[in-house]
Symmetry: D2
Subunit: 307 residues, 4 copies
């Protein structure tokens, strides 16, 4: 489909949904997230041929939160290879994102890398590989997106650190099963920074092009991960990208995607495009209400579901 056609469809759906009553709620478990204006609504699409289109608040940066879990996964998969799956599984959890109970029966192996427990283990894997995890991970993101302005939000990271008792619980619980190899405080510090990454829809739809384009190379002409790894990450996004609403997203939208409690969602059309949506109010399962609604209409109108 031509970018003009996408532009037309996106603009139309954007207008319709902008005025829909938003029954969601802005995440407020850390003050920094709660202070964002609930009215923000932005969309940006980037095709693999680099044509782009954006509408609304698509250039405003926000806290991408769990969307960053794709980036840590990609780097850990690149560095650790298939051995990674001995430490974290690839199954949907059927439980909320920060649940501890499944870990108990699964002996400390998180169900997938997109629930908090799994992302914490992935951070632990990265720490074992990297000398300066925060710096090197940021460098990886900047190269991926050819964007030297990408950065963490110290404020969000610190806020998370002061209130993230459940993540501290998760990390110590996994450590008690032996599936965290490094110091718990170090792992959590890294994890909280990862989650504090800030990007706009425009930046998001660009950085995740490597999952849409099988032949993707960075501006330094480097492949990021293998074709097989790309497909596998897309598969995990489809089955596990939306916590206990992953089935609903596959059912209604039909694309691999990942949400964050900052209200962002990215979705991938293999060999087509990457699209990012942002609207801060979340439904009960913790996913952007208008974001999901937009993407449902979008795949219906463009018939671009992978199914």
């Amino acid at each position: 489909m031509q970018i003009k056609e996408y532009q037309k469809i996106i603009t139309e759906i954007y207008s319709n949904i902008k005025n829909v009553e938003d029954i969601g709620k802005v995440a407020n478990y850390i003050p920094e997230l709660g202070s964002v204006s609930a009215d923000n609504f932005g969309i940006h699409i980037t095709k693999i041929n680099n044509e782009t289109f954006g509408i609304g608040n698509f250039e405003e940066k926000f806290s991408i939160q769990s969307i960053s879990k794709i980036l840590t996964l990609a780097l850990a998969y690149k560095l650790e290879g298939e051995k990674l799956w001995q430490r974290v599984d690839v199954e949907p959890s059927g439980n909320p994102f920060n649940s501890l109970q499944q870990l108990e029966s699964d002996n400390g192996i998180p169900r997938n890398p997109f629930i908090n427990a799994g992302a914490i283990v992935v951070c632990d894997v990265l720490i074992s590989h990297l000398e300066n995890p925060k710096e090197e991970f940021l460098a990886f993101c900047r190269e991926l997106s050819n964007n030297a302005t990408l950065n963490y939000s110290e404020k969000v990271a610190k806020s998370e650190k002061n209130t993230g008792f459940r993540n501290v619980a998760l990390c110590n619980f996994i450590k008690s099963f032996g599936n965290i190899k490094n110091n718990v405080d170090k792992v959590l510090d890294f994890y909280f920074y990862i989650c504090s990454l800030e990007m706009s829809c425009k930046e998001l739809s660009k950085i995740f092009l490597f999952l849409a384009d099988n032949n993707f190379k960075t501006h330094k002409e480097k492949r990021v991960i293998t074709k097989s790894q790309v497909k596998r990450i897309n598969a995990i996004m489809l089955t596990c990208g939306f916590y206990d609403e992953s089935g609903e997203f596959a059912f209604r939208v039909g694309l691999s995607g990942k949400s964050g409690v900052g209200g962002g969602i990215v979705a991938i059309h293999p060999n087509g495009f990457c699209i990012a949506v942002w609207s801060p109010k979340l439904n009960k399962k913790g996913n952007s209400y208008k974001g999901m609604l937009f993407l449902e209409h979008f795949t219906t109108k463009t018939a671009c579901s992978i199914f």
Copy 2:
């Protein structure tokens, strides 16, 4: 891809896997399944242009068991429309196929139509719509596949009836939440018959063409379900088709699919083909060991994953 190319790839993988040691076990919870020869190994592909290729025991009928849950779902979705999802959800369960515990916290709404609990609710929906459920459902299957020889196995159905205490438990448990509307014995009798359907790989890859071909019509020139419904069933198959190994199948194979404890697996490539594999020995999660192995190699070699 041309059928000749598929033929070459399938033949090669078939030869390699045929002699691999099979670490699975034939299901023996009902005697009729346990008596099947473990050596059976068959594959059959049907493209949407009706080109076909089969190898091994692809013409031998076997008990398709849970694969039939796609067919009851399709008919119930056709008859009930989107209201169906008030009675059954579309989320992966993260639990074994016959688990009762999730039903307790979910107030009798099964997680998806492919775990036993969900399929039983779907049967209940069908009974509310059909005068002679067994006959009319069989007629639906026969029309779908243009194959008047399709039939239930009375022997398997009765065997299941005598030993299926957990399914009786499931059905009564759901009834206690009010999510079974008809008589429990009637619902279970229908459910046990459904599971006893027998087909060969050849027949399976044909009957499920309606999920691969968006423009599918039966030999009577009737559409079965809408395009949107096709996509949605494919989405549920991807996220929920292999019980608590659904993520693994998406990860390794990358196609929508559904397994049965008889050792069969069907997989769908949208606008491409339907492929069926049969090998009776099951891995620990209840899915055909060689069937999964074959399909993993198959999508790798043909690069036909949807991701």
Copy 3:
């Protein structure tokens, strides 16, 4: 303590509690229970020296429901001996009375004989021992209480049969683990009759004297169970007699006891007395609201807690 002293204390507490607002609700999951007048309030104490005192509706018969589980346990323990505990455990469940989920992790061994699952297994044990279970069990009760008028309520038993889907689920679920040896319908029919037994507070406080009096013999001069068995049943009543409120009852009342959803409670003071209370409105955990309140005041005033 003399019966006159008990009489004074009971009368006083009775008067105080009679007019307390009852925040409980009459059980209505079967119509026969729902139709009982919520105002009923009766108490009866029987000392081991056969002195007695009653007040309020202490001579009115009501559905003793789960209180009958002590009687089936006593008879099964007598007939089966310590082997009984291979079929049912003696641990508090920490879960509601009709939960299925624990059975799943415990492989079909119910946590204790006082949750429904455990009582159903006990019924199964009795059926294996008795030729005419209903008749012989009733004869056992009549001899225990020297009261030929004791009887089942056909109406309640049938009502339970028509609506007890969860108990049907429990029984089939346990059968699927092999821990029900007889026909499921037969076991459930017996179980529903057991639960339908009707007694007054007066009759209850007499029939359970065998748990209060170590030297108890029936009017036919027969011992019922051994001293050790009496103590052990009292222990199970203390740890498991009030579902997931057992700890609360031990904490507040400090006696072995057992409640039923008909609003009855019996409590035992070893070598002292048996007391029965009846008030139909139940608290959220399914135990008589005023019954528990009365007993708390009673053990406080009489200082007769076992602790």
Copy 4:
């Protein structure tokens, strides 16, 4: 019963059990516990009239571990009164001692003060009341037992600190529900010290006399807690003192008691005596194998069960 009679019975059972093969295992989750000689076996009884008798290694100090949870509970109950039960429940958990999953459904309110979660909340309550929690709690213990030599083991406390990831997880998890009011590190430090208390059987049977003797006063002539509070603590010990083996202890032994993973058990006979047993090898539920065996024989021979 006279102390001479107890002496005879204890000596006899001690001799018999000493040579029984011990199928338990010494706890080794912290090195300091693992290094204790498995052959230790000591018993000491103290009657409320201060007559005593000991046999075996009854004067050797060991890590009392969870037995200390009774002491923290007693002090917190004294200081906080009935409000305490808004922070921790009094129900048996039906789960292992360090389980997190129940906390999730119970919103951070631990089931009882004797599972780790509950004891951690009790420590938090104490910290809110005490200026120097470690010193003041130790002073409380010393006054209770009139024994200035009682002390923590720094080595055990530090070892616990370095390896107690699951307790760190528990404390942070409860904090995430708002049921820990103080700094997590402070609470855990206190908790680890509490668990490291060391006493001999002789000292244990003396310090817990306040639960056996309704009229107990310390050597400074002070009452510790009210009679009602004594009874209630005894009730909780009976229903919750042995983790998910509490029912079994009530069933086989019939006394209120509490075990620790150091292999100690104390048991209370109201208005009779306190008895302490020590044997380091634990059964699968984490309770001293020989300790439970001894107490079962002891209450059988002395007929001193409370039931």
